[in-house]
Symmetry: C2
Subunit: 204 residues, 2 copies
DNA sequence: ACGGACTTGCACAGTAACGTGCAATTGCAC
DNA sequence: GTGCAATTGCACGTTACTGTGCAAGTCCGT
């Protein structure tokens, strides 16, 4: 024990990183995974994990922060400079799809260790951006839906989760999943199937 | 304790029923609600709950069975004798929406006490019927989607959950929610928005 | 090969839940 | 009104997990 507070030694850093990575995988399998399960899976003793993170909550919180960051980065990078709402959604979904694992972690934890409200708070900026995008699409007639933009944003989030599950269960070929998911999301927003496919073809 | 095995006394039956109802409400709020929380909420002592259900798992299992049954009944009754796939989906969604609470319980428990596989197993018959319905719609050109029918079935399930959340969060007016949800689901299946609205108008 | 950062192993206290046994009590039904 | 099922109250034993303390070991750079 003693220090580890310096946080500059490569060995400690590597361990910390590995613990986070393994924790992600374990929590994905079982959102209630104990510190001991996580530690063992990381090839480390439980006591060591407490050397890097003061509590279970701190560990998970770090993971959530990283996940949100990865999503935000993917989303922003994916649709930078795109003005057409439909194309923006298409690029956003394709980009976010790459971070599938981390997205799933959020979903998994949303109803467990972390309060739902906690997750929502951290995702708020990301969601608000999406709501504005959807609203713009509805206003300009690119999207058509009886749902208000905020509800549509919920639907989009859940659709992505459903499609990730479908891939896990072998109902959807992983190779084409990203493109299929994008078409599905656009379709749900009221974009005609033909136009959605066109868009995806030219974007991907 | 002693008996309670006769199960014919009205007092015991009423208690058992109330315990189940209250347990549903408590588990909806907190999927990890303890037996003590449930018992207290039902105005009963923990020990009494164990008089009716041998274990926590047995209690929850009963609840899940009832939920699946309610869903299946609503689904079947809703679309009995309807041949057009789009209309069948519309009627099914509108009917299932009525059992929202029980549907939400399944979702809440799906990632907790009960194994995901356990839930899937019990929902299998219901889902297979839906898959066949969707497949028929895809084959006849009523539906359009790059997703195979089984994946589309997943998407529909998750959409309903997302929309229930939206209602809870005040993003969607409860009065119109059922109809909006139905249009959204049909739209996600590739039915043009105009046709979807027509259908819902004549069915509801 | 030496020193300090990092890790291990073990032990401990605290907490929370489950499932059970049994004597005492309550309250319907007849 | 009384009898018997049902409920209560309480006390156990068990299990599992969190968070901490500390001494002994291990590994790496220098």
């Amino acid at each position: 024990m003693t220090a580890m507070t310096t946080g500059n030694t490569s060995r400690a850093d590597a361990n910390r990183r590995r613990i986070l990575d393994v924790a992600l995988a374990e929590l994905l399998r079982d959102p209630d995974a104990s510190m001991d399960q996580i530690a063992r899976a990381a090839g480390v003793v439980r006591r060591t994990v407490y050397g890097h993170f003061p509590s279970r909550e701190a560990l998970i919180s770090t993971l959530v922060d990283e996940a949100v960051q990865a999503l935000a980065d993917a989303d922003a990078a994916g649709r930078a400079g795109v003005t057409d709402p439909a194309e923006a959604v298409a690029r956003s979904v394709l980009a976010v799809w790459q971070t599938a694992d981390r997205y799933r972690l959020l979903i998994a934890l949303a109803q467990r260790t972390v309060t739902v409200q906690g997750i929502r708070d951290r995702l708020a900026p990301l969601r608000e951006a999406k709501v504005r995008l959807l609203q713009r699409g509805l206003d300009t007639g690119v999207f058509h839906s009886p749902l208000p933009a905020p509800a549509l944003a919920y639907v989009h989030e859940q659709m992505l989760f459903a499609l990730m599950e479908a891939v896990n269960d072998g109902l959807l070929a992983a190779a084409q999943a990203g493109r299929s998911a994008t078409v599905a999301v656009l379709t749900a927003a009221g974009v005609p199937a033909s136009r959605a496919m066109e868009l995806v073809a030219e974007v991907a």
